[in-house]
């Protein structure tokens, strides 16, 4: 290095040495003000991967603080679609899953990624659309409604994100023996349920939603429930602990504690009451005392 270069480097180093001590002081003040410096301790931290519907409806905002107070665990809730949640479970990036895609879940368990799986609750999906109902699907069965929408070319918004709701929607298309991809009237939002409902409302389009998110968002939407009560629209939630034999870093104890919490009678009662005061009807129906067969799965 030339003499001139080394002069610059020396000067820079000398100045930075003085600045550095001030910075360390400043940084320690900032990190001391919160727990910014703490990384998550292994045993008391739990990563819950769950659906956007449980978060957007507000149910988790009630349940998680209760679980944290009771158990002492700190829960990091990451709301992604069921598809991504299960992928996180496969990669060991989550400890416990709360999802609603039964077929995909069974595959997940069969491959050994999950250890325990318990039925938690159910509600139903509904098909919503503009009050004017251009495709005339009101009161039909879901699969028939799908056929009518395709035939009339009415705009339909799909989640398009491999979530539980998306998988249910694709299942219905399969039952109707139709493939909507690439059609001019079919749009994929790639986002959560709340955002997708907003898009459908703005575009005056049809979409499939779980009842809970729809009720929670209804005030700002111009959408009505057009199809409901069909047995194909059952929406069942399970909690799954990620298998520690596949990934030793998962917090299995915490995951199991969360599973037990969800199926405990007191929690089930809270689930059954959730939403009654705000919407006049419960948003979820507790099922821990039933089996999959009872629900027709």
């Amino acid at each position: 290095m030339s003499k001139e270069n080394s002069l610059f480097v020396d000067g820079i180093i000398a100045c930075m040495q003085r600045i550095f001590s001030i910075f360390v002081l400043f940084a320690s003040v900032i990190t001391a003000c919160t727990g910014l410096e703490s990384s998550a301790p292994a045993s008391s931290n739990l990563i819950l991967a769950t659906t956007t519907s449980t978060q957007d409806s507000g149910l988790l905002d009630v349940l998680i603080p209760l679980f944290e107070a009771e158990s002492g665990y700190t829960v990091q809730t990451v709301a992604v679609g069921s598809g991504q949640a299960m992928k996180m479970g496969e990669d060991g990036n989550a400890d416990v899953l709360l999802v609603h895609a039964p077929e995909a879940e069974e595959e997940f368990m069969a491959k050994g990624f999950g250890k325990d799986r318990a039925l938690v609750m159910h509600n139903d999906f509904v098909v919503v659309g503009p009050a004017s109902d251009p495709a005339g699907i009101a009161g039909m069965a879901a699969v028939d409604a799908w056929k009518r929408i395709a035939a009339s070319g009415a705009v339909f918004i799909s989640r398009g994100d491999d979530s539980g709701t998306h998988k249910k929607e694709m299942n219905l298309w399969k039952q109707a023996a139709l493939d909507p991809k690439g059609q001019a009237w079919y749009f994929e939002s790639g986002q959560g349920m709340g955002a997708t409902l907003t898009i459908a409302s703005e575009k005056g389009a049809y979409t499939l939603t779980d009842r809970a998110t729809y009720l929670a968002a209804r005030d700002h939407l111009q959408l009505e429930i057009l199809v409901e009560g069909d047995e194909t629209l059952l929406n069942v939630y399970h909690v799954i602990t990620v298998n520690p034999e596949k990934w030793e870093k998962v917090n299995y104890e915490g995951a199991l504690a969360f599973l037990r919490f969800l199926i405990a009678p007191s929690t089930q009662e809270i689930i059954g009451q959730f939403g009654v005061d705000r919407f006049g009807q419960p948003l979820f129906f507790p099922d821990a005392n039933k089996t999959d067969e009872d629900l027709g799965l």
Binding site: F8, G11, I12, C15, F23, Q76
Partner: protein
């Protein structure tokens, strides 16, 4: 509505994370940018072009790459930093550092190249020379600082990916705005947006005052 504890906590976290990230970026960018500007070595233009490209890094891409590193299944998973505020600081530092470095280099290159010689000739020590050069370039250097801060206080992609927008833990103003919007709570989203804008304005007001101190116009 503004004075509920949750909003205070979200705002405080936004400020802490972005200020810390900008501070670290300054610590990296100032010496690095100065050396790139004043030094004369092989590979200088190549390095400078890398830094300039870094200024345009999409925050969401930085977030994705950092997340993949910090996941349990990733190489740095054992640090258990994913979904913590420190992860956001790391990602934001990666976003801001090239901005500060590139603009610092440009600021110092704009100085008269004979200035450093003159200073040394007048008996300045090496420390005094660099310090004086920084003082000479304080206008564009403070602009570099404001640009670095601006690039991170406003970003949402990286914060979302590595932080997870977890209530009470990693929710910052930008990710909270996205959440409220997706829930359809547009008024809350707008209120948070206004809060964010006022905050960034006040900070930049203070920095601009410092920058313009002594200017006669």
């Amino acid at each position: 509505m503004f004075f509920n504890p949750e909003i205070f906590q979200i705002t405080a976290l936004s400020l802490q994370v972005s200020t810390l990230a900008t501070g670290i970026s300054l610590l990296i960018g100032l010496p690095l940018g100065t050396w790139l500007a004043l030094g004369n070595f092989r590979g200088r233009s190549f390095l400078l072009s890398i830094v300039n490209t870094g200024m345009a890094l999409p925050p969401v891409v930085v977030g994705l790459v950092v997340a993949m590193m910090l996941w349990r299944s990733g190489p740095l998973g054992d640090l258990r930093l994913i979904y913590t505020p420190m992860a956001i600081v790391i990602a934001q530092t990666i976003i801001a550092a090239p901005v500060v470095t590139g603009l610092t280099a440009a600021a110092l290159e704009a100085l008269d190249p004979r200035l450093s010689q003159q200073l040394l000739g007048l008996g300045a020590s090496r420390l005094q020379m660099v310090w004086y050069l920084w003082r000479e370039a304080r206008l564009p250097l403070l602009a570099a600082l404001m640009a670095g801060f601006g690039s991170v206080i406003s970003e949402v992609g990286a914060s979302m990916m590595v932080g997870g927008n977890i209530k009470g833990q990693t929710r910052v103003l930008t990710t909270a705005i996205v959440l409220e919007t997706s829930k359809g709570e547009f008024e809350t989203a707008l209120a948070l947006s206004a809060l964010l804008l006022v905050l960034t304005y006040l900070i930049n007001l203070a920095l601009t005052r410092i920058q313009q101190r002594g200017q006669k116009r």
